[in-house]
């Protein structure tokens, strides 16, 4: 049997009909020629041929497949039924679409950031080489994945075996502008082997090779990313060969990487890849690459086919002592050296790349996936209930069909076809919704200064997930009602026809169970939503120790201004003073480490010559910083103009610092030293002031001990300056700041941020969780309310007679309302008990994401229960009121 014929079986049948007709005509002709009358001739011909319809049927059967045909029939029938009930179909498809859409969207994100491997050649062969446990490493850390230093990378490159290719890379950003407000490109430092290791192809020109990355290179070529090429050059092939300005230095573009290749970091897309050897050109400091305490690289390798990750790790472990011994930094203290030499290199699978997005969002995403699954389950339970109601409305029809010989299986199949149609339509709509949802989620997390790139293209996993959901939902909400519908004795169903005084309890067991399940799952979702909303509220209302509104932050890069080291302190002071005089700016100050920015600086201190346990956090600020931030002094004074490089070194500490390290006596009479490399001067910092505690890295942490040093007393100032300004109109002030800075030093590059948007970014993950779980909670509550309403209305309708009798016997309306409400109250109570148990367990898995709330927070639970009870009361009051309006005489006469 051929498919072509299967699909053309109707035309084929017509063809056969004509052929048989032609036989009859010929036979008739012959019979007439033999002398029969035309009628007799035609009859004889018919007899000779046999029944044409039977012959055609036989041939038709040869052309078809019974199951497929019956299935198509079922689908057509289902479609007709659904078209007759557009309201039901719309509710069903919409609720499924929301459930499937939310599920697929979250899965799409998880797939993109966690599951999918990098779009490079044989990603399963890729491993990352790093120090297994790098805790205790000291030095400068740059970029998002500072795993290794350049000397360590060179050691690995020269000594490691078992790799067919090895490459190092690090993240950076490069200013594309030639002065004024900076425009940053997402950059990566790459060793020459980066592109060959990954097996990436160029879209234009060529990619970097090993010989592009040679120490001391003068003007090495750079490779740009495909999207950057499209964005900046409109995809012009002539871009190759042009020169690109990076931090003020010009580099020739040698090629463009293939479309779809975004780098090794999932969640970002690189704009420009610069060979490592260009680092001294861009930083303007020679010898940086030899710094043994500058961590900024990640090493990737491709394992040789005959090696395994375990064997490579064993080999790396045996090489580690030698490599580490050769790269001990002279800046390390003896303690640091001990820790450093104890490190061990190892290989880790890297086929899925690295991702800070994954680090921050993997857990929330799994929790969200679990919650969306609950939403889908609730929607399924609801649909199952609706289907049950419809099935019982069709009880008589089904009974008739069973009675005249339809098989049970055939009727189940037919009812399932209807469910499959609903599930299919719901999943298709959900798939579309998912695309929109996941794109908006990424847009929500992305910002100008933190451009995210998540490749959300459909792949087989997402398709399989969504269609799997469709099948699952179909079985979940369709199978039980379909099977149940056929388990009716035809005689009983046809006889009863809605006449029973009251329906038996057993027949409602399933529907009651479904409502209880819906209530329970809704409670879990509502509790979850309230916990995450509470967490966000707690974070937003927590006192960071400063006033975050109306703060403008300008970050400046002075490298191109070419200020010699000796004049930098003065140059920075000039800029800060000029900005402080701007109209609208009430205060301005230099700050090295902006609070809540995620960056930090800590070092061991010595009090009375004794090294203290744990590192306090450090910061360097200029006079007026605390006034600008709105952090009050507890004792002592601010830095003053008289605190200069030639005066006594002074420090301001926060309360926690004073309590932790300066326990005995007045902090203002004490001093501390900062641990410096052997041989470097170790001045005593005289504490001159104590300020209130402030948050340092993030809002969740407890207050840490912080010591502030004076910007004017910095001995080795760098070429970066960060100024924080208090101004009523932060965004309007920025242009004036740019002009003022340009007036002092024309070549300074600037970027702006506001403290409040930075705060918003730090609670972004919490805001996402609160928004999403909040909407899931509302959705779940609404669906569960619809479910309860449906079941209660149905119960009331079925018990019309009973209620009529009760009223005739003297029950008043209030009693009837009470009866119905008691019924739904019991369902609600059962749901809440089950749900509370589930919710406590579920909340515990999310406890790490909560802030200021315990997973079992009683107030949250009380709120959730109250909210659900209110919704349930509303949903059951309407049917109850309807029951109370029943006219006993009418209800009884209906019998």
């Amino acid at each position: 049997m051929s498919w072509a014929r299967f699909f053309r079986r109707r035309r084929w049948d017509e063809e056969r009909a004509r052929e048989l007709q032609s036989y009859l005509e010929m036979e008739t002709d012959e019979n007439v020629a033999r002398g029969l009358s035309p009628e007799a001739a035609r009859d004889a011909a018919r007899r000779k041929l046999g029944e044409p319809l039977r012959i055609r049927e036989e041939i038709y059967r040869m052309n078809t497949m019974g199951i497929v045909d019956a299935f198509a029939q079922d689908l057509r029938y289902g479609l007709r039924i659904l078209r007759l009930n557009p309201g039901f179909a719309a509710v069903a498809i919409l609720s499924l679409a929301l459930g499937v859409g939310a599920n697929s969207a979250i899965f799409q994100l998880l797939n993109a950031v966690r599951i999918r491997t990098l779009p490079v050649k044989d990603p399963s062969e890729l491993v990352e080489v790093r120090i297994a446990d790098r805790k205790g490493a000291v030095g400068r850390f740059n970029g998002r994945f500072p795993q290794l230093t350049n000397p360590l990378w060179e050691g690995i490159r020269d000594k490691a075996e078992g790799f067919s290719d090895l490459a190092a890379w690090g993240t950076s950003r490069f200013d594309l502008s030639d002065g004024g407000e900076a425009r940053y490109a997402e950059g990566i430092w790459v060793s020459g082997g980066f592109f060959p290791t990954l097996g990436v192809r160029p879209a234009a020109g060529r990619l970097l090779r090993l010989d592009d990355d040679v120490r001391g290179c003068a003007s090495p070529g750079v490779v740009i990313g495909h999207s950057f090429w499209q964005r900046e050059f409109g995809g012009d092939p002539a871009a190759v060969g042009r020169r690109l300005r990076l931090d003020g230095h010009l580099f020739p573009i040698v090629g463009v990487s293939a479309p779809g290749f975004f780098g090794v970091e999932v969640g970002r897309s690189f704009d420009v890849a610069v060979p490592l050897c260009a680092e001294p050109i861009i930083s303007g400091v020679s010898g940086d690459l030899d710094r043994r305490d500058w961590w900024f690289l990640t090493v990737l390798g491709r394992i040789k086919p005959d090696w395994t990750a375990t064997r490579v790790t064993a080999q790396l472990a045996s090489l580690s002592p030698g490599i580490l011994q050769d790269t001990v930094s002279p800046r390390f203290s003896p303690d640091d050296v001990k820790k450093y030499l104890a490190f061990s290199l190892a290989a880790f699978p890297a086929g899925t790349g690295v991702s800070s997005l994954r680090r921050n969002y993997e857990r929330p995403l799994w929790i969200l996936l679990a919650m969306t699954t609950l939403v889908l389950l609730i929607a399924c339970a609801n649909l199952a209930n609706l289907m049950l109601a419809r099935a019982s409305a069709r009880e008589r029809e089904i009974a008739v069909r069973l009675a005249i010989g339809a098989s049970r299986g055939r009727i189940v199949r037919q009812l399932m076809a209807e469910s499959l149609l609903l599930a299919g339509a719901g999943a298709a709509a959900g798939g579309l919704l998912a695309r929109w949802l996941s794109t908006s989620l990424v847009a929500f997390l992305s910002s100008e200064s933190n451009r995210l790139f998540v490749d959300l293209q459909m792949d087989w996993r997402v398709l399989a997930f969504t269609s799997g959901l469709a099948v699952l939902t179909c079985v979940l909400f369709g199978l039980a009602p379909a099977v149940r519908a056929t388990h009716v004795a035809p005689a009983a169903a046809m006889k009863s026809g809605g006449r029973g005084v009251t329906s038996s309890r057993e027949r409602f067991g399933l529907r009651r169970g479904l409502v209880v399940a819906q209530m329970a799952l809704s409670l879990v979702l509502v509790v979850g939503a309230l916990l995450f909303v509470g967490t966000l509220r707690n974070l937003l209302t927590v006192d960071p120790g400063f006033r975050p509104d109306d703060l403008l932050v300008a970050s400046m890069d002075l490298r191109r201004a070419g200020v010699p080291e000796g004049q930098r302190v003065a140059a920075k002071k000039d800029i800060v003073d000029a900005l402080a005089r701007l109209p609208g700016v009430t205060a301005a100050a230099h700050v090295d480490v902006l609070p809540i920015s995620g960056s930090g600086w800590n070092q061991t201190i010595l009090v009375g010559g004794v090294a203290q346990k744990d590192f306090p956090q450090l910061n360097r600020v200029s006079p007026g910083y605390f006034k600008t931030m709105g952090t009050p002094f507890v004792a002592g004074r601010d830095f003053e103009e008289t605190d200069t490089g030639s005066s006594v070194t002074v420090a301001i500490v926060n309360e926690t610092f004073a309590r932790t390290y300066l326990g005995g006596g007045d902090p203002l009479r004490q001093a501390f030293q900062i641990q410096e490399p052997p041989g470097a001067p170790r001045p005593q910092y005289q504490v001159v002031g104590v300020v209130k505690d402030t948050k340092y890295y993030n809002l969740r942490e407890p207050f840490k001990p912080i010591a502030y040093l004076a910007a004017a007393q910095e001995t080795q100032p760098d070429e970066y300056l960060q100024v924080v300004m208090r101004t009523a109109a932060p965004s309007a002030t920025a242009p004036a700041v740019t002009r003022t800075v340009a007036g002092v030093h024309p070549l300074v590059a600037l970027t702006f941020d506001t403290m409040s948007s930075q705060l918003r970014r730090t609670v972004q993950s919490e805001a996402l969780m609160a928004t999403l779980t909040g909407s899931f909670g509302v959705l779940a509550g609404v669906i569960a309310a619809i479910g309860l309403y449906g079941v209660m209305s149905y119960l009331v309708a079925r018990r019309r007679n009973e209620i009529g009798i009760r009223m005739a016997l003297g029950a008043d309306r209030a009693a009837v309302v009470k009866m119905v409400l008691r019924e739904s109250g019991m369902l609600l109570a059962a749901g809440i008990v089950v749900g509370a148990v589930l919710a406590v367990g579920a909340a515990r898995t999310a406890s790490a994401l909560l802030f200021g709330l315990t997973p079992g927070d009683p107030i949250t639970f009380a709120k959730a229960v109250a909210g659900l009870a209110a919704v349930a009361a509303l949903a059951s009051y309407l049917p109850a009121a309807r029951a109370a309006r029943i006219d006993p005489t009418l209800a009884l006469r209906e019998q």
């Binding site: 052929e19 036979e27 002709d29 041929l49 036989e58 041939i59």
Partner: protein, 119 residues
Amino acid sequence: MPKKGNPPLQGELLQGTLDLLILKTLALGPAHGHTIAHVIERRSDAVLQVEHGSLYPALHRLEDREWIASFWGTSENNRRARYYRLTPAGRKRLVEQESRWDDLVRAIDRVLRPAPEER
């Protein structure tokens, strides 16, 4: 109509035998269903009385296996008719089937009329 005393064989055709008869008939040249039915009936001296209707599913099956091909043509007395012709594959099949039929007949014959055994 049977000319001898035996009743016509009807519905007793072995599966595949009808196929063989059709293929053999078509080996003479293209023909339409009506002709094929009559040729089989005539050549077997009406012993093999095919119910003419049962021919058509068989034709369909053979065409499906690509042993015969069909086309619309005009019959001797100017009627539109569907003609069948043998394909090369069908010709090969016919040769195979004929030799198998011979084997079968010989085998049955040996069973029915065993040669006198040598003692």
